[in-house]
Subunit: 337 residues, 2 copies
Amino acid sequence: MNSDIILLGHGSGGRMSHQLLDELIIPCLSGIAVRDQNDAAVLPAVEGRLAFTTDSYVVDPIFFPGGNIGDLAINGTINDLAMSGARPLAISIGLILEEGLPLADLKRILESMREAADRAGVAIVTGDTKVVPRGNADKIFINTSGIGLLADEVNVRGSGARVGDKVLVNGTIGDHGMAVLAGREGLELKTDIRTDSAALHAMVADLLDRAAGAIHALRDPTRGGVATTIKEIALQSQVDITLEEAALPVRETVGGACAILGLDPLFVANEGKLLAVVAPEAAETALAVMKTHPEGRQAAIIGEVTGDSSGKVFMRTAIGGLRAIEMLAGEQLPRIC
Amino acid sequence: MNSDIILLGHGSGGRMSHQLLDELIIPCLSGIAVRDQNDAAVLPAVEGRLAFTTDSYVVDPIFFPGGNIGDLAINGTINDLAMSGARPLAISIGLILEEGLPLADLKRILESMREAADRAGVAIVTGDTKVVPRGNADKIFINTSGIGLLADEVNVRGSGARVGDKVLVNGTIGDHGMAVLAGREGLELKTDIRTDSAALHAMVADLLDRAAGAIHALRDPTRGGVATTIKEIALQSQVDITLEEAALPVRETVGGACAILGLDPLFVANEGKLLAVVAPEAAETALAVMKTHPEGRQAAIIGEVTGDSSGKVFMRTAIGGLRAIEMLAGEQLPRIC
């Protein structure tokens, strides 16, 4: 490469685009052969229902404790597929690069994407790169879209919660949001806070293997945190859900940082967590399955579906009170994912 | 909605995000029921090989003669699927919005997306919306990803060109690039130049119906124009291709504007054009099929695969000379798509 930063010409579609693709992007990724570049990737034959998802990542900063925008994007899209009960098959990458982005940063991000995809056993099969002039974007935005395959018996959806179901989470909440905050310039949280970004499809596959019919809803509490996601499930299922404050796993440093900054971990983004709404007779099994996975060691039953309603969520506080939980109202932390 | 512009809170994942989604985005789009919002869309069962593609759109300006960033994104992704020979099944939308974007502009863009998808008979099934602070993006960027299904007998690829094959284009070249230039502030081209943005999957389906085995390569000459795309096919197929300058359809106003601005229409982006490399015995049939479609009325045979090589492209000029054609070297027109 004749430059160590992204230039406008890298987005031309011409010679410089090909050079960037052949010398940097393709070697960093898996599953795309240089000579086979076509407008669309062709995947091996499948049979069954497909899951399809898309997410754009605009996190600021692009590198933060425990991860970067690249592995975040791969894990996030794998998780969105997993939350529908699908086995992830293939991922696409759409890059929007700001002129001036150091190629070293791009390389580091792409390598993280490849590592995350390899770790999850999912192929990155197609991609697109655009370059915009300085000031028209902020360093790099990444879209990842994903295709998954659903087994016949799987029927997991936000509208699936029923009265009596238990609500589980696979570990501590608020880690990702606070890690991104910690990574922001000027804010020095000298702690061990790291993003929880992780792919959860293996855990979901195990849950479905052991208790397919009992897993009524799965969702990853990203933007808006656990509170907003529980409220979404309550509204979609038209049920009341009551959370137990004392049961919520919160890392001490995360809780402390939230207290200092006036944030509630219940509303802070997670990127390696799932909420599972599970039939009561299968709740202990599901909890045990979660705990066999590294991402589920601190799994807990945090609440219950307590009634039919128009979608109310309550928190039973540590001192026995009951307070209503609403969705995040405005913007708590812009560009958190 | 309590505001007439996009606010940071619309990207929070919380109440304002849901309001934007339920009151503006979902009503403008098709195929997503408000109550069924899940992390991934579930598609009906399919059987066969899948095509998968992604593209981000960063065109500037977002509205230009004959179209806008919305229908451009839908048509572009449909075309990428069609160029692999696939029947488009479903499209995802990833929006990155700049704080301050007028909701009226967003609405107009989303309505164009829906109209383009409806016209093509393709469902928009899933989406994602992010908001970044003012100055961190330029108005709106759109990623569209798409899934298509490939018939067993289809085998269209950039490496498929063979000596003797004819090269066809379905109409005039350079229209999109010049339309975007005409739309840029401060540049007044008082002409009838309009983008050629259009979905080409119906034409491709007809071509494959009539001459499946004879259609060796299909590609849409977007960024980098016809020259760059032909060069890509020549390199991937390891053949020489010779174009006939006199046979290239160029709208008079586009040719004139290119001349004034010092641009070569051969390198200017198209968004409703395809290049087809076709076995010689099927070339006239393919040409006739193209001409039955509104997007193919000015279709022409513009060249031929003239030899085995390492991928050279030549242009036989109107006065009989032969000049070598290379890919677009740098950036001709930033943010053209």
